[in-house]
Subunit: 333 residues, 2 copies
């Protein structure tokens, strides 16, 4: 038999409402009663029933976090940070993974919708119309996707991409290939755009191959196409792919960075300890998680939620995989 407010109240000859107040508006209850209540509540092991509370207040103190793939190394850091900060704001986190499937994402969002105060959607693949619809029904924070009128946490790869391209050009590369990620991804489109812009500015060739599945395997599968372009350096959609490309190149007898420089995006923990260590454009997913949680907390506090866009900057981390200049024979420029 679980203790409820009524149990506690009855035990003290009080009304449930008083006990409720003792927890929610302590200043409106005399110190003496408050203490007696605290004591009995503790003794009975009273814990508030969140469903009952949610039913009357309309708030669940829970947010939903939806990511494409929980096991993809970029997300754990994001989820960890988001969870920790949400918790600090009194919110629990419902986590779900879409397996990169829009259908699944739709289904998840639909089910989660009414049991959370807000939804954080990472790299959402939903249609514009669906996003609009959703934004009307709940508080929404988009990560890695920009949408008019909706709060978002965006990674601005401008700095990182500029540094990356300048780095490669300084090393003597004149033809660079981008191994693209998921077709409908906002991040991918953004990276293409920035790379093209820098390539033009620096007057070098940029060629794109893909799309590829943004995993280690996807990268391994991309290696052949990458080589076929005749480029001396490859920038992959993310570190996982870059690592996969490195592995496949190693198997094919292509030396990194001597025959081909490799670069990723994210700076997942493995990148620092791979061989060769991977040069990468660092994205702080922890910061992204924190920002998401903060936006959600503002929303929950009932603040007038003007859509807010938080932009996180990126930075090049140079490691061994782009360490040397390309060998003379492979330079085309």
């Amino acid at each position: 038999m679980v203790a409820t407010l009524q149990t506690v109240a009855a035990r003290l000859g009080l009304d449930p409402s008083t006990v409720s107040r003792a927890f929610n508006e302590p200043e409106r209850v005399s110190l003496r009663t408050r203490r007696r209540i605290a004591e009995v509540a503790e003794e009975l092991g009273y814990r508030p029933n969140s469903a009952a509370r949610a039913l009357v207040t309309g708030r669940t103190d829970t947010i939903g976090v939806v990511v494409p793939d929980v096991a993809n190394p970029v997300f754990p850091e994001f989820v960890k940070s988001a969870q920790a900060h949400a918790w600090g704001n009194g919110q629990a986190v419902l986590l779900a993974g879409t397996d990169e499937s829009p259908d699944r994402e739709r289904e998840i969002v639909k089910r989660l919708l009414r049991q959370v105060d807000g939804l954080v959607l990472c790299s959402s693949r939903l249609d514009q119309e669906e996003i609009t619809d959703l934004a009307a029904q709940t508080h929404l924070v988009l990560v890695n996707r920009r949408f008019p009128g909706v709060s978002a946490v965006l990674v601005d790869a401008t700095d990182g991409v500029r540094q990356a391209m300048e780095h490669l050009v300084a090393l003597g590369h004149r033809r660079i290939v981008y191994a693209a990620g998921p077709e409908r991804s906002w991040s991918d489109a953004e990276r293409r755009r920035l790379l093209a812009q820098q390539a033009e500015r620096l007057r070098i060739d940029l060629v794109v191959v893909g799309p590829f599945v943004p995993t280690h395997e996807g990268g391994a599968g991309a290696a052949e196409a990458v080589r076929a372009t005749g480029a001396t350096a490859v920038v992959a959609y993310n570190d996982l792919m870059a690592l996969g490309i490195q592995s496949a190149l190693a198997v094919a007898g292509v030396a990194v960075p001597d025959d081909m420089s490799v670069m990723g995006v994210d700076d997942i923990s493995t990148s620092a300890i791979s061989t060769p260590a991977l040069t990468t454009i660092r994205v702080s997913m922890g910061a992204a998680g924190e920002a998401s949680a903060r936006l959600m907390a503002e929303v929950a506090s009932g603040a007038v939620a003007d859509p807010t866009v938080v932009t996180l900057s990126t930075q090049l981390v140079v490691r061994a995989s782009t360490g040397h200049a390309p060998s003379a024979t492979s330079v085309t420029g």
Copy 2:
């Protein structure tokens, strides 16, 4: 204005209970009415209010998953699998990380207790008394910890450890060091026990150093102590530590596996692509996640929940980090 059962019912001149039945016990409602309800519900965008449902049914269709560290590479796979399977069973997953702190774990459990149908506790550091208490209040599944009368998913390292020790002995190692993990960890105690047992059986020396923090940094910090033992092979509490040890040994000019063999436990994804690739005792956290979700689903279905213990076996994966025999000079046996 959000649509409720009442809204839908009113629109059709029906009673809310009929609409409720249309969703929960469709066979008790005529096809015609059911269709009209479906149509209006769709049109109004009706979504059930889970708080209201939970309040009356007593079930939240949500389970809590508590892990020490969301970003620790062993857990994402676990969480992913648990979430996916729980979802398949109609349950959402509330995720929380304890930061390896018992106090935080206590606090989390306390808050989650009344908003879930059950709790999956990974590597819990709670006191025995607290576990007993908790088991009385909710459905409990322990992962990596055995406790009388409580369902659990356990990793049986027996096979893996035996294979590991035989492998090392076959390579000529006669003195092996175990770099221990967290003091209060059931897994750590278990690994010590099994290693000692095998060492005795195989008549070789086993020495233990630690405890260390079970991270890459913790491993790096352990390297010196490991060397000081004069052992020719080290088994670390987990892959993260093993990788850290490898890094630190490399810096110190100790060749792996020539001067020292290194072995971990878990087979996290990084282990396969580190240099040298890490020999490890593979633990399938995905299987553990699935098993946890299954136990929780049984519990939720109201089945008489005899405590069930699921045991997962382990297997040695040999890679380069134990590839050679120890060099002659360093063999003591």
